[in-house]
């Protein structure tokens, strides 16, 4: 599904990624972990086209996507969410999802002015679909509100609804549980599992190691721009010494 070959990137003198290679197969749910500054988000930014790497390449389903624009990569079915959510504050909750629905892109500037039967049909379809996703993440009661009025957890769920509205083949989730309380984390895990069951390949950065070990089929560990480990959650759990070296001994969930 996704192949990353020898990706190298630096910011000035700081090497952010040092020849990282990895592969994610169709239908997998893979976790990416590592301490702050390990290069996780940089890797996501390179995969999704926000950063052009100094060297190396990224392939989606065998096709090179290394230097494409983010919107082209998104349209190819590789969709990401952000660590800091980034909902569209100028749109209502349901409109946030509507803009993501691919059919809506068929209505351009002129299509917006001169409403035909076809554009009317598309509009209704888009609205209906958007409500479906809103219901899926449990936000239907606030659908017509401004996203500013949502809690942080709700905004995060909205971000995920917006991502799945694009009908991705593969979803990159950047710390989806950051800032969520326990209940919200449980709902989130549930939603992620549901999406995965629908056949979407998922690559997830997560600091909540308990959640990651619970969800992921395979885990990749990055540190200082290098891939230091890769394996099943059981294997990672077993490698206590390595984990402790990066996260300290206090994390009860690991023991």
């Amino acid at each position: 599904m996704l192949q990353i070959r020898e990706v190298f990137h630096r910011f000035g003198g700081l090497i952010a990624l040092n020849n990282v290679s990895l592969e994610i197969n169709q239908g997998e749910l893979v976790g990416l972990m590592g301490p702050n500054g390990a290069g996780k988000t940089t890797l996501f930014n390179i995969i999704t086209g926000f950063i052009s790497p100094v060297s190396g390449s990224v392939y989606l389903e065998g096709e090179e996507i290394t230097h494409l624009s983010p919107h082209v990569i998104t349209q190819k079915g590789l969709v990401r969410t952000f660590q800091d959510v980034r909902v569209f504050e100028h749109l209502t909750v349901v409109e946030n999802v509507e803009v993501a629905i691919p059919e809506g892109r068929g209505i351009g500037l002129l299509g917006g002015i001169f409403s035909t039967l076809k554009t009317k049909f598309i509009k209704e379809f888009v609205k209906e679909k958007a409500m479906e996703y809103i219901r899926m993440v449990g936000l239907s009661s606030v659908a017509e509100k401004s996203p500013d009025s949502l809690t942080f957890g709700q905004q995060r769920l909205l971000g995920i609804a917006r991502a799945i509205a694009l009908r991705p083949k593969m979803l990159l989730l950047d710390e989806p549980s950051a800032g969520l309380n326990q209940d919200e984390t449980i709902i989130l895990s549930e939603v992620i599992r549901k999406i995965h069951l629908k056949g979407v390949t998922i690559f997830i950065i997560e600091h909540d190691i308990g959640m990651l070990l619970d969800l992921a089929q395979r885990i990749i560990v990055l540190d200082r721009g290098k891939k230091i480990m890769e394996g099943t959650p059981e294997k990672i759990r077993g490698e206590k010494s390595v984990i402790e070296a990066y996260f300290g001994k206090k994390r009860k969930c690991l023991v």
């Binding site: 926000f50 504050e89 749109l91 209502t92 351009g108 500037l109 002015i113």
Partner: protein, 338 residues
Amino acid sequence: MRKTFLLKWAVFIGVVLTAPFIFEYLLSYSLEPILQAGFFVMLSVSLALLVGLAGQISLGHAAFFGIGAYAAAILAVKFNLSPFLTIPVGTLIGAVAGFLIGYPVLKLKSYYLSLATLGVGMAIQEFFKAADPLTGGEIGLYNLPNIKLGGFEFSSSFSHYYIVWSFALLTVFFCEFLSRSPFGSRLRAIHSDEEAAECVGIDVFKTKLKIFIFSSVIAAFAGTLFTHCSYGSIEPGEFSVTLSIKIITMVVIGGMYSIYGAVIGAVVISLLPELIRLIGSFASIDLTQVTHIEDVIFGIVLVIFIIFTPGGILKIRGESNNAADKRSFSSLRRVNSP
């Protein structure tokens, strides 16, 4: 929803139809201010798409108005073409100018975009002054023809008023449609967060360029009408940065975000000088003698609105909802912190 929409438009059209009679016969006043208001409505509504919806602050809108006006005037005076040709060709030239200017400047963001459009606007005004053989230099062009249909010449203020306002109404109607369409939603998404917009598959640059060109086309079209349905002459001073600022003021007063707000802003600002004159005459002072009194008052009005009612006039009327207020606040915040 549909009912209030129809009612709004019925009132709107009714006011537009009767206004000249009220001005001419009841107030025995010149039609000039309400004719100019028609041009301003087109300008402010088109800029509201760019500034309010898409969040791209242009300080050079007057330049496109000027390009349309000069293109039509040059074609009419130097090439003796009929308004039925000068208007579409002038509008087309506006579209080309929109593309040529929009393509490079839209690579810039926030302040830099505003500064670049400001610079381009000034440069274009200087061009009008300098290209004497074509544009008539500082004096400008005069003896501009009226629109003639069959044997009838649209030469009276009344006929000018109705031509300009019918197109102004059409502009408002189409722009309102556009702002509610999926394309309008995409513009708002770009306004909120360009990177996140890319991540829902929106081609941000292309979308911005499209709305920039569309906005320029409306401004240029208004310019071509200004050539044929106004004073019968144009001069470079009319297309200055002051005009661009005036148009921005209209959009801000209207609440940044709403098309109808931009209409109200345009009408209020274009009638403001008359109001000043009226107040002055009550106090028996000729305020128009005070240099740049209008500009001073525009400045004060702009600042008052930004500080106290970022939601614009519609908010004072209590019409805009909570979400819209927040939108206006955040769009202003964005201006301050890119």
